[in-house]
Symmetry: C2
């Protein structure tokens, strides 16, 4: 019984996500969906990204959190931003995104970033109408989070290994990380980055630029 | 409709959790439930804790993950351990704990630790029959995780600020952390610890010892 209800909810979500995707593609807007544990560095990465592409692209952000508007306050320094408060909910869904979109002026926007609720499990299953899943894992979390939370890495369009500047201070096994990741996903690009030192950020900006130019190259996993 | 289903699920969960709690208390077993983001250091804290109390207490562990038995393999070095694989599920529930318990020999056990799935949202709402909620946040996650994920800190019986040895390398605002935490929970004990250097671990061992001696002092939040 419960399974049926959840299936219906997911079906409705996917139908709405397809409408969002068609709408955004019709407007020529590229939409990455950033997913990670709490504290992997999604917001700081977005700050540096918005700053880098300011003047090049029109940019907007939808950011989800259980409570507070802290992330939106940080990101609104760089681009128009809408905060979704899920009020305890553990992920964004397509209806939340659809409700947030009218609060943005999408004319002239080239990239709409979605920063999901910090959670390595629940956001993975919800299509938001995005073009790509951007998966972050920070070196401080430990390399075992790949094998222990497999679905995100399987479905990711790019993996960012964040806080790479802290690698020298933590027991993160880089070889094991790549081994476990490749066992789940043989082809996903992996970028080692630090929003603090700037390490690897050019490769991330290049990935975004290339992917924005051909968002249909690869159909995103749901 | 969906709300009703979830309410029934939670009701069933709570009834089973009460049975587990009564069973464990009847056996004189203290049961802490460790909750945090992925990678906050639950498993490493448990390794040091099991090692410290070996020979003093009988100890056992139930550990939840989406996939792999890696945590159980680490913890089985120190005490009997059962791994629950949730197969994608984002939290442990009372039924999973009830199913795991017969795989442990609970005769002579004084403390049964439950290490929940790494997730700052979903595990908070599920009573597992535990005596105390142990909430971890690592300094590498950022102090804003308190205000952004409020429920866990409100309901915690103790808060461990982990990876304190990394404080010098990360932009964690300690004053803001305490301010936000106190706004949610005026009384919860906060312990700054590092499983790597041993900093603060004595205070954690003392908290566990004191709380085990009077588990009924404070009824746990569901």
């Amino acid at each position: 019984m419960r399974v049926d209800v959840v299936h219906n909810v997911l079906k409705l979500n996917d139908a709405l996500a397809q409408q969002i995707r068609a709408d955004l593609r019709g407007r020529g807007i590229f939409c990455p969906n950033l997913i990670s544990s709490p504290g992997s560095g999604k917001t700081t990465l977005l700050e540096r990204t918005l700053e880098h592409f300011r003047g090049t692209w029109g940019q907007a952000v939808i950011v989800g959190d259980l409570a507070t508007s802290r992330d939106a306050e940080r990101l609104a320094e760089y681009a128009q931003t809408v905060q979704i408060n899920t009020d305890g909910g553990c992920h964004l869904d397509a209806a939340m995104v659809a409700n947030a979109m009218p609060h943005l002026d999408l004319d002239g926007v080239d990239v709409l970033y979605i920063e999901n609720v910090g959670n390595l499990v629940c956001p993975v299953g919800y299509d938001l109408g995005h073009d790509a899943k951007v998966a972050l894992i920070s070196v401080t979390e430990g390399e075992d989070k790949v094998a222990k939370y497999p679905r995100l890495w399987r479905e990711a369009d790019v993996v960012l290994l964040t806080k790479a500047d802290l690698l020298q201070y933590v027991p993160f096994d880089v070889a094991r990380f790549y081994e476990d990741l490749r066992a789940l996903n043989g082809t996903v690009p992996v970028l080692e980055v630090s929003s603090m030192t700037g390490q690897g950020m050019d490769a991330w900006f290049e990935w975004l630029t290339a992917r924005r130019e051909s968002p249909n190259a690869q159909e995103p996993a749901a």
